[in-house]
Subunit: 416 residues, 2 copies
C-alpha cells in the first residue's frame, strides 16, 4: 500500500462521522464525505406545491383518529429525492399518498433509514407552534450520516416542516382544539434499487403529519420491566445515539413480551454493571435523595453515545438546572439498577419519569427487575411534584402559556 492510498488519520473511521458532519457544511455531499458544491443542496425555497382537494378528506374526531390500526395523516406530505449524481431535487408538497419502491430498494433490506419525531401544538392563545425544531433537524442530519444517507442543511429541513404545518395546520389542528397536537415525522430512506451492500446512491426525504394518542398519563403510571439478560438495546461503538430504524425493530421482541406481562416499556440496562439507559424509546429520569441526603434529578449521560440526545431530555435538564436551582441537583452520570434498588430499600426514591416526544413526560410508577419490584411514588395527582412542575413548564412553552424562544410560531396559510 502506498502512502497516497492512506488518509492522514491512520485509524480508519474513528472520526468518520465527525469528518462527514464537517464536510457536509450545508452542501449536498457525496457518500465519500467530500463536499460537491456543484450538486444541488436541499433547498426549501424551491418547494413545488400541488394542493390536495380539501373536500376529499375530513378531520376525524381526536379520539377516533387514534383507535384504528392505521395512522391517519393530514392532507399533504413533503418529499424530496436525492441522488449521488445530482444531489437534492426540488422538494414537493403534495397530497398524502403511498410511496412506490422497487423490491430491491436499499431501505427494505439494509435498514438505510432514519427519522425524527416532533409535534405541532395548537396553543391556548390560538397560535400554532413547534417545539425546538432546530434540535430535531440537527439530530436528523447526524442520523442520516451515521446510516450512510445524504447530508443537508438542517435549516432547510426545519423550513420544510414549518411549510407543511403552515398548509395543513389550520384545517387539521384547528383553533377550536386548543391544547391539541399533531405528530410530525420526517424520515430519510435509501431508495436505490440495488441489492449490493453499499451506501445508497438514491434516497428520499419525506415528512408526514398525523394523529397520535396522548400517552403522557397512563392510568396508574408507566410500568417498566428491565430487559432480559440476553437482550441489549445498544452498545458502545454502536448507534444507540442515532434515530435510525436499526435501534427500533430489534427491540420490539422484548417490548412485546413485557407488554404481555402488563408492563408498558423496557428499562434498558447496559453491561454487566446494569447501567440504566433508556425507558422504551424515551429517556429515563429519577428523582432521589443521595446517600448524603441531597435531592437529585439523575439521568444517563450522553458521552458514551449509548442513548438518544432527546429534545425533551435536554429541555428537562436545562429547565431543572435553571428553575429548580438550589432545590434539586441535576446529575448526568452513569448509575446502575443496583443503585436504584438500594435507594428504594432505603426509601430514597422520590419520583421517576420517562421523557420523549411520544410519551412527553410520563410518570413511572413501577419498575420490575428480576423478581424485585420497585414501587415509585406518584402522588395523589398521578405525578410527583417535580415531574408535574417540569411537565407544566415545558407544556406551557409548547402551548403558548409562556412565551419562550423554544416555542417557534408557525405562520399559517389561509383561513382558520
Amino acid at each position: 500500500m502506498t502512502a497516497s492510498q492512506q488518509s492522514p488519520a491512520e485509524d480508519l473511521g474513528a472520526t468518520a462521522l465527525e469528518h462527514k458532519l464537517a464536510s457536509t457544511n450545508g452542501h449536498a455531499n457525496g457518500t465519500n464525505g467530500a463536499p460537491k458544491p456543484s450538486l444541488a443542496s436541499l433547498d426549501a425555497s424551491k418547494l413545488q406545491v400541488t394542493l390536495a382537494d380539501p373536500t376529499l378528506r375530513t378531520v376525524p374526531d381526536e379520539v377516533a383518529a387514534c383507535t384504528g390500526t392505521e395512522t391517519i395523516c393530514t392532507d399533504h406530505m413533503i418529499t424530496a429525492s436525492w441522488s449521488l449524481a445530482n444531489g437534492w431535487a426540488a422538494p414537493e408538497l403534495k397530497p398524502y399518498g403511498p410511496l412506490t419502491l422497487m423490491p430491491t430498494a436499499s431501505v427494505l433490506h439494509y435498514a438505510t433509514e432514519c427519522f425524527e419525531g416532533l409535534k405541532a401544538y395548537r396553543g391556548f392563545d390560538g397560535k400554532l407552534r413547534l417545539f425546538r425544531p432546530d434540535c430535531n433537524a440537527r439530530r436528523m442530519l447526524m442520523s442520516t450520516l451515521r446510516i450512510s444517507l445524504p447530508g443537508f442543511e438542517p435549516e432547510e429541513l426545519e423550513k420544510l416542516i414549518l411549510e407543511l404545518m403552515a398548509v395543513d395546520g389550520p384545517k387539521w389542528l384547528p383553533k377550536s382544539r386548543p391544547g391539541s397536537f399533531l405528530y410530525i415525522r420526517p424520515a430519510v430512506i435509501g431508495t436505490q434499487p440495488q441489492l449490493g451492500v453499499q451506501a445508497p446512491k438514491q434516497a428520499l426525504l419525506f415528512i408526514t403529519a398525523s394523529f397520535m394518542p396522548k400517552m403522557d398519563a397512563p392510568a396508574g403510571g408507566m410500568k417498566l420491566h428491565t430487559n432480559p439478560e440476553d437482550m441489549v438495546r445498544a452498545w458502545v461503538g454502536g448507534f444507540g445515539y442515532a434515530k435510525v430504524g436499526a435501534n427500533y425493530g430489534p427491540s420490539l421482541l422484548a417490548t412485546q413480551e413485557a407488554r404481555e406481562r402488563g408492563f408498558g416499556q423496557i428499562l434498558w440496562l447496559y453491561g454487566p454493571e446494569g447501567y440504566c439507559t433508556e425507558a422504551g424509546a424515551s429517556n429515563f429520569f429519577v428523582v432521589w435523595r443521595s446517600k448524603e441526603g441531597q435531592l437529585q434529578l439523575i439521568t444517563a449521560p450522553l458521552d458514551d453515545k449509548l442513548i438518544l440526545d432527546g429534545v425533551t431530555r435536554r429541555s428537562v435538564v436545562e429547565l431543572a438546572r435553571e428553575r429548580l436551582q438550589g432545590e434539586l441537583e441535576v446529575v448526568e452520570r452513569k448509575y446502575t439498577i443496583d443503585e436504584l434498588l438500594e435507594a428504594d430499600k432505603e426509601g430514597r426514591i422520590v419520583e421517576a419519569f420517562a421523557a420523549g416526544t411520544a410519551y412527553f413526560i410520563c410518570p413511572v410508577s413501577h419498575i420490575h427487575h428480576r423478581g424485585t419490584d420497585v414501587l415509585v411514588p406518584t402522588g395523589k395527582s398521578g405525578a410527583g411534584q417535580y415531574t408535574s412542575k417540569l411537565k407544566s413548564w415545558i407544556s406551557g412553552i409548547m402551548y403558548g402559556n409562556e412565551q419562550h424562544p423554544w416555542g417557534v410560531v408557525i405562520e399559517e396559510k389561509g383561513n382558520n
Copy 2:
C-alpha cells in the same frame, strides 16, 4: 402484580425467541407467540400465478447485467401478504414490479425487515440447482421472529423459491450459460401503516431473482481493514446472528471509509480482546499452523450469537471435517487479532478466505490492523490450496459436477 399476569419464566424474554420458534411450529402465529391454528399458514400450494408477457423483457448479457446502478431482476416475483387478523394470504407469482407502501409503513421507520440470499446455479449437466435452500428457509424463520415479523413453515418458503426458479430459470439462466447463477432474495417487511413503535400487524414476504456479479476472485485477493475502535458490528445480546436489515445499514459507514482506502471489506473485531468475527457480510476463515505445528482451519464460533450461521460457512466446516480429516484440524473457537498478528510474525499463516453467498469463497490477501499489515499467501493461482479445494468441492456440488444431497435440482417449466 398477580401470579396470573406472570409467565412461568421469571426472567422475561430470556428465552423469548425459543418460545416463539417452538410455538410457530408450522402455524401462522400471532405476534404474541401463541399459535393460532385458525389463521392461515403460508401455503405454497395456494400459489396464484399471473404470468408476464415474456417478450417484454430480454435477458441481458451477463456482464452488462451487473454494471449499472440498478439490480436487474427476472420476469417474475413472488409475494405473500400477512396480517395478524387473517394470517398468510395465498402467495402470488406475478410480473416483477414496484411495491406500494404507505409513508407510515413500519419497515421504513423501525427496520422491521429481514432477508435471505441464495443462488440458483445452471449446472454443467444442464440442470438448474439450489444449494441447501432448507438452511436459508430455516434461518429466515429465525430472523423473522427475532425482528417481530410473522412465522411460517420453512418448507413452504423453500417451495416458493423453487417455484419462482422453475418459471424464470429456463429463460433467465439458460442452458447456454452453464456455470452461471442468479441471486435469489427472499425478504419479509413490516407493512402496517402505523407509526406506533410496535410489532407490525401487517407484513409482506417477497422473493426476487436477479443478476449479481461474480465476486469470488478479485484481482489480488480481498483486502480487509479492521473496524475502527469506536465502531462495532454486533454485540452479545444483540442480533448479529440474524439476517436483519439492522445489521447492515449501520455497517456501511465504516465499509465506505475502508473502500476509500483501497480495502474491500471490514474485518469486524469484537470486544477489548479484539476477537475476529466476520469479514464484511461474510464469515472469515484462516488456515494457520498452531504454535504446536498443527495445521488448522479456524473460524469464529456460533455460540455467542455474534455472527451469522452462514450456509457457506457451515458447508466449509462440514466438508473440511469430512474430506481434509487427518490433514487439517477444523477449529471453531474465539481467536483474536493479536493471535493473527503473532502467527503472521512467526510465519504460521497459510491462507485466509471469506465465505458467504455473495462472495462465495474469496481468498483474502491482506489484513490491515492499526498500522500493521498482514500479507496472506494466496499462491500462484490467486488462492491457496485449501481455499481452492474447498471452493472446488462446493462449486462442484452447486454446478452438478458432483451429485450430492446439498444440490437440490429444480424441475423447470416450459421449454429451455
